[in-house]
Symmetry: C2
Subunit: 341 residues, 2 copies
């Protein structure tokens, strides 16, 4: 049987367990150019929250009753494809299900001797490539600059900060617990990391950036951005990669004065660049990214942390927790045993 | 005697005539490497409002009692410089005064046979170069795209729109009177131009951009931006060049709601780029800009309109009017007869 999680209803604000539904169905026989898969690892990422809304966005919304989207690592169990044979390991966007049958063009072969399988949806997958292409194309870190990254212990943020260190930046993270902050310093080599839940967070951040901020990597929005904004140096770059603190908002217009004039005046006088981007538009740089990140991992310059959850039936709860910062590192759901482990 | 206008007191909100003071002083004898000048044309530009504030900005504020800043075209009346001789025409940032004595390194020689002298502070000067470098480096217009430009009949906006036409864009201007709108269409060849004072302005703009907006050139902020924002296409570029509607604000925080989350979400999902810039950081492209703009003028592809005011004593009033959109084209104060005319 193929177990799958579908969108039962569109959440209003924070998703609830009742917004998801677990189904079982027969495994579909592959047609020509299709393969049947056994899902081993499934990625949970904040962007999925956007797909649950009906709003116009860069990607089509998940329809009610449709399987939830996700990147996965799987093993081929039956193949009618010339490109993949039984036993092959593949990465693809096959969704929240454990025995899907999909077209070969959704898949990419993985060599399990190169790195642990799960990294194909983590540091060597979408989140790692997000960090790589955003830093290369938009942040453009220079030695001696100060880089601030929000969601610093997360799948993207942790890699962003370490790329900053590789380029000689002072790297200051922002995260949601002292434990996460400590980890980015001792494991990832960040120069500093601040807990945004501290009452003195704004002041702490200012003190930790005595030369101002040249790059702010935006994963979060909200109070992280508010604390960084006054610290921008001339010519600062702000790659806007995610806005996790807004994803559960019922309205994107908040109480308080409208700060657009303030934002624009600073953008003009300090000559700032803000750039929203989505990794899927930069997959021409995916291979380059995987090679570079692998090489940094081999050299001990790049580390990563995975946060494993067991079982598809626990995915919705883990996803809700992810939106509240409950994960610690790249959140991965393990659906079946990893035969390479 | 040298007549000069100094900043008497810092304006709060809209500048008033009493914020300026006209003085007379003896013409200072040039020392080595200095020249004495007779100012012929003086430029009035919105950015000068920022210099009247004490706020930290990209350029030093004008001090109380100090001469107001401006770009000028002048003739050398006495020279102790090896680079300039009596009778030469020069452009420089010599301020609101009619017989200044300045160091030669503030000046650039102008060939009066190439173009009317006044263009050296207009279409072939700072405003023209602003349009050129912003379009080349940040807007990057592509044939078939839709470009919207605010302050469309102004010194920068008029040139921006025409560069857009040269690159094959649909060009839609925004201006503050039907007369200005008509002019950009008949003289500059804009496809359309809308009066932001019309009650149906937002709807008119939407109707005039049936394929959305790929480039928005921001000179103004406020209701122009609010009307364009919902129309952005994926990958739209927004060069932020000026914010004239905010310059007289007493606070940059307006009555709410706070739309920063809305702005950021759109920036992310539509992958927008916002870039503040100041022309003075791009003067390595000034010569290239002057050559390209001159060539377009010769070919009849680029037109310009100047709005002349006579007499330094009328400059403050004209400047206050400029901030309220009372000028029509590049605002130039004529201080002395133009001997080439």
């Amino acid at each position: 049987m193929n177990k799958k999680v579908v969108l039962k209803q569109r959440p209003i604000g924070e998703p609830k367990l009742e917004d998801f539904e677990l189904f079982e169905e027969d495994i579909r026989e592959p047609k020509d150019d299709e393969v049947s898969l056994k899902t081993i690892y499934m990625s949970l990422d904040p962007y999925m929250r956007g797909r649950m809304n009906d709003a116009k966005s860069y990607a089509k919304a998940v329809e009610i009753g449709e399987v939830m989207e996700a990147g996965t690592v799987s093993q081929v169990i039956k193949s009618k494809s010339k490109n993949f044979k039984e036993g092959d390991f593949v990465e693809g966007r096959t969704g929240w299900q454990d025995n899907p049958t999909v077209h070969e063009n959704k898949l990419r072969l993985i060599d399990p001797s190169m790195a642990p399988l799960s990294t194909a949806i983590g540091v060597l997958g979408m989140p790692g490539t997000t960090a790589y292409v955003g830093m290369k194309n938009f942040a453009k870190p220079q030695s001696g600059e100060t880089l601030v990254v929000s969601a610093a212990s997360g799948a993207v943020g942790g890699t962003v900060g370490q790329i900053g260190k590789i380029h000689g930046c002072r790297v200051v993270g922002i995260a949601g617990s002292d434990e996460k902050c400590q980890f980015t310093k001792t494991e990832y080599g960040f120069d500093d990391c601040l807990n945004y839940k501290d009452t003195n967070f704004k002041e702490n951040l200012k003190n930790s950036c005595p030369n101002g901020v040249d790059i702010y990597w935006e994963n979060v929005g909200g109070i992280s951005f508010d604390a960084v904004m006054p610290l921008f140096n001339d010519y600062a770059r702000i790659p806007v990669c995610g806005l996790i603190s807004y994803y559960n908002l019922k309205s994107l217009k908040l109480d308080g004065p409208d700060r657009i004039p303030l934002l624009f005046r600073q953008m003009l006088t300090k000559r700032l660049m803000y750039k929203g981007f989505i990794v899927f538009n930069h997959y021409d740089q995916r291979q380059e990214s995987i090679e570079q990140l692998s090489s940094w991992i081999k050299d001990g310059k790049l580390k990563y942390k995975e946060d494993f959850i067991e079982g598809l039936e626990n995915a919705s709860k883990a996803f809700i927790g992810l939106l509240n910062g409950k994960n610690f590192g790249k959140l991965v759901v393990k659906l079946n045993d990893d035969p390479t482990n």
